[in-house]
Symmetry: C2
Subunit: 292 residues, 2 copies
């Protein structure tokens, strides 16, 4: 397929390479032309604008940061929407609010085109290994048209429901994951305060009823006091803004998530937004006067 790609960051770069490696004709656009340099060996077709990218491609994949970024790409000057023809599909893999996803889907629908929300879980590692989990919201027919593209990027593609449902699932994923990080941090912090070796506690819990990917990966980082990101905590902080806005709009109290958000606020307030979210442990330690 002729596939356009926007968002050549830590995740986007390997994803674009996977698409080209699978034989798809790779087109790109970037706000900053220097962002294209790492793909020079692939000699992708470079579009002059998002509109030109959409006009040249059967589908465009975007993975950027926030709701405003995606809205701007679609509805801004020379936006994707201006180049979209019937049958065109925009697959947005950013993590944004389901309301934004639904609004953009409606705008495309008015032109006979489709918008699929397809946020991912698995991080830069999953992007590099093409093992992302992809949570899809949107029309079945549109998903089937772009499934060959998604299959180049991830191993689990779950069609969660109608437009926005992929973003709801992603919000749920972040809720469960980041709450687990905070819970592991509190557990290991209590253990240390009680004079018990956190490494032994982490080992004792592995494989039992508390076992999780987070306990394994993030627990080990906390034990090693390795706070270099992984996924930068500021991105999880951003995700919790999305989550709490959804809860607010729906009138759904999320007592645990409200507390997780406060701990993320404290982390940001310490200036640790570019650290790994394992630094939630350090937030707790501040309260105990530990500052290394």
């Amino acid at each position: 397929m002729r596939v356009g790609f926007i968002g050549l960051g830590a995740m986007g770069l390997p994803m674009a390479r996977h698409l080209a490696a699978a034989g798809h004709a790779l087109h790109v656009w970037a706000r900053r032309p220097e962002a294209l340099a790492p793909l020079a060996d692939l000699a992708p077709q470079v579009a002059a604008s998002p509109a030109a990218l959409a006009a040249a491609c059967e589908a465009v994949i975007s993975i950027v940061t926030a709701d405003a970024d995606v809205s701007g790409l679609v509805q801004g000057d020379s936006g994707l929407l201006l180049g979209a023809r019937p049958g065109f599909v925009h697959v947005d893999m950013s993590t944004i609010g389901p309301d934004t996803a639904r609004r953009l889907a409606a705008a495309y629908q008015a032109k006979g085109a489709d918008f699929i929300d397809a946020p991912v879980s698995g991080g830069a590692q999953g992007a590099a290994a093409a093992t992302l989990a992809i949570m899809v919201g949107g029309e079945t027919a549109a998903l089937e048209r772009v499934r060959p593209l998604l299959a180049c990027l991830g191993t689990r593609i779950v069609h969660v429901g109608a437009s926005g449902a992929g973003q709801v699932a992603k919000a749920c994923n972040q809720m469960v994951m980041v709450a687990a990080i905070e819970a592991v941090a509190e557990a290991l912090h209590l253990a240390a305060a009680a004079g018990v070796d956190p490494a032994r506690v982490q080992a004792a819990l592995a494989g039992g009823s508390a076992a999780s990917r987070v306990l394994e990966v993030m627990g080990e980082r906390m034990v090693r006091r390795d706070f270099a990101a992984g996924v930068e905590a500021r991105l999880h902080h951003k995700d919790f803004g999305i989550i709490l806005r959804q809860a607010f709009a729906l009138g759904v109290p999320l007592p645990l998530m409200a507390q997780v958000a406060q701990q993320l606020n404290a982390l940001m307030g310490q200036g640790w937004g570019k650290a790994d979210t394992a630094a939630l442990l350090k937030v707790l330690e501040q309260t105990a006067g530990r500052s290394d």
Copy 2:
């Protein structure tokens, strides 16, 4: 070995059977003699008191409910301590406070005997399958003496540290596990409120960065709306009393756990203490007026 067993409940009964099946000479004592009936086919030696049980055995295993129960067994009238000789080991597998474990260990030590705190994770299912995770605090020499007994009951035996360390690890296990249950409940509750099928969300999250034993087992229970216990929520509520007392004693703020405890309080207030802890979902639904 001549091994005594106290606490023939849902977990204790299969555990006692495993010990007998492995060829150990099973001795028992029970506050209520009718509790011994399910073991009649094994014809265990029945002691007249905890003191008599300790006097007859090289080791005694107990698995009861609360700190006061264990203290009473050890230091009450005709308590285990009165029958303990040098070399005797009391392995307590109940979930109690580390402070109680340390206090009882000191009382045994004064008689040349040992007390091992060895709380477990895995529930009635793990007890039946002899696959419990066992978190041990106490002296290495004492643990090695009773290791053949523990090996009949569980597949993972981790010596976490000195006396009380097993209970600290168990507290950490419950923190991570029950916080995960609440997080999954909030996620599935938000999904339902947003009009997205919670079953699809649970499936989308499985195998990703939010993957956990809790998401798999408890998430599925919530999706099926099966709130029959598993582990009764009142026991997790009790565990959170232990956890927050430790935090209080150590001056360690645990913001997420404080919130989990409030949700467990709400669950108890609804009279759902004998339901599965998956009923934390129902606590959230109360706030949305759902009452089935």
